[in-house]
């Protein structure tokens, strides 16, 4: 995003809306730090600019910069996956897709959430660790279009420095891998240069309980008391 200096009257109305805190006042005009801007469009969509000085320049839609909006503005679709958002259907439709079966856990590591943003290179250390861990990486996630092939854990050089509001690594493990994966991931995540929100998807047991909660507690891993729950109302139902 950019601010037209000819139109800007430095009223500062847009400044507080920036999730990356990268709009600042200069000499009589306000400008957006292009290195930090993730092209989320919040400043523009807020509709607070009295002179319509905020705009998305053409270069924001050209690669490699174009991925900023794709991973930051939920209204912009990913050409590689033909859908919006930063993740996949994950457990939201698990009742009809059967993506995570009993005996398996899904995991999602969302880099830059909440509110800090991430460089695509922030994913690399963790991805390299995951590749060594015998986990099943989710290739339908839009992140995969920007990784080196064959998979080394590196982001393609032209995208490494692109900053996004958040990007997600999704993968699946077998139940028996839980402790090993958690123990190996914890120190790697501690070294990441941004924040990472960690999610775990699990099937309910036949009796309606959620055994993974006790397993996590035994491992000393705190799970929040709130969660997203697929209510099992999709049809046709996969693995009741």
């Amino acid at each position: 995003m950019k601010i037209d200096p000819e139109k800007c009257i430095a009223c500062l109305e847009c400044v507080d809306f920036c999730p990356m805190n990268c709009i600042a006042e200069g000499d009589d005009v306000v400008s957006i730090d292009q290195e930090e801007c993730v092209e989320c469009g919040v400043c523009l969509h807020a509709g607070v600019c009295p002179t319509d000085a905020i705009y998305m320049p053409e270069e924001s839609m050209q690669y490699p910069r174009a991925i900023r909006a794709q991973f930051s503005d939920p209204g912009v679709w990913h050409p590689s996956t033909n859908q919006g958002g930063r993740g996949t259907e994950e457990m939201k439709t698990n009742d009809v897709t059967g993506r995570f079966r009993r005996g398996e856990y899904g995991m999602a590591l969302e880099f830059g959430r909440p509110g800090t943003g991430a460089r695509m290179s922030d994913l690399e250390k963790v991805l390299q660790a995951l590749i060594k861990m015998d986990v099943e990486l989710e290739h339908d996630n839009a992140v995969f279009a920007f990784l080196e092939e064959p998979l080394t854990g590196k982001v393609k050089p032209e995208f490494r420095n692109e900053k996004v509001l958040s990007a997600i690594l999704e993968f699946k493990i077998r139940e028996e891998q839980l402790e090993q994966v958690i123990r190996q991931l914890q120190p790697v995540l501690a070294e990441v240069d941004t924040v990472v929100s960690w999610g775990l998807a699990s099937r309910f047991a036949e009796d309606g309980t959620l055994p993974v909660r006790a397993r996590l507690e035994a491992l000393g891993v705190h799970a929040r008391p709130n969660a997203k729950i697929n209510m099992g109302m999709g049809r046709p139902l996969c693995e009741p």
């Binding site: 939920p74 939201k92 009809v96 990472v196 999610g199 099937r203 049809r235």
Partner: protein, 217 residues
């Protein structure tokens, strides 16, 4: 997207904060799902205590001016319906009606796990899969204050700025803005409509009451 996960707060702070998401699967039932999504939207709109709703396809939420008809018109090209409640009974009522409607579209509710499971049991529903939050890792020193996180994480796409939250808290504490107006302003950047303005208003009200110089403090 896992946008309703990772809402920040203690068990007490997370009470009365529920989101719902009806989602068609691209692999199973997305083709021609528009009429079913419109049916789900109409059921949700029947609930008096629906706090907010919206979608990224529509580009804005109810709190930012999205009208039900406008929302309904987007659903042939969309794959989900989202909204939020601050009343457990409204969630129970919504699920009861959705069960009767039997659209076959997947329904996801976020909230306190034990409460959602209890509601499901009462309606003879069998929860299928849970997505748990194992918290925030990495460079936690970058995170803002606790009360700011309670507000900003109600938009899982991260569209609600910490700076805006801080500014609104300041205005509310100084009496320049009401908690209600503050919550409405903070809801504007979140197009999906899962930013719970009731919860936000309660947070702002509590911060105002506990501010130095207030009657309560």
């Amino acid at each position: 997207m896992s946008h309703a996960l990772h809402r920040h707060g203690t068990t007490e702070q997370l009470q009365n904060d529920y989101t719902f998401y009806a989602r068609a699967s691209r692999y199973v039932n997305r083709e021609g799902c528009g009429p079913k999504l419109r049916k789900i939207l109409s059921i949700a709109l029947e609930e008096k205590n629906l706090v907010n709703y919206g979608s990224s396809q529509a580009g804005k939420s109810f709190k930012a001016g999205l009208k039900p008809d406008e929302y309904a018109a987007t659903l042939d090209k969309a794959y989900g319906v989202a909204g939020c409640f601050s009343d457990k009974e409204a969630v129970r009522s919504l699920l009861k009606k959705l069960k009767e409607a039997d659209t076959g579209i997947s329904i996801v509710i976020s909230g306190l796990i034990d409460e959602i499971v209890e509601i499901a049991r009462g309606l003879d529903l069998k929860p299928h899969t849970a997505f748990l939050s194992l918290g925030v890792h990495g460079k936690r020193s970058l995170l803002p204050e606790d009360e700011i996180q309670q507000i900003t994480t109600m938009c899982g796409h991260g569209m609600v700025a910490a700076k805006l939250s801080k500014a609104v808290i300041g205005r509310v504490k100084s009496g320049k803005m009401t908690p209600e107006a503050g919550a409405k302003l903070l809801a504007q950047p979140c197009p999906c409509g899962i930013f719970n303005t009731d919860r936000c208003e309660a947070i702002l009200k509590e911060l105002k009451e506990n501010a130095p110089g207030s009657a309560k403090s």
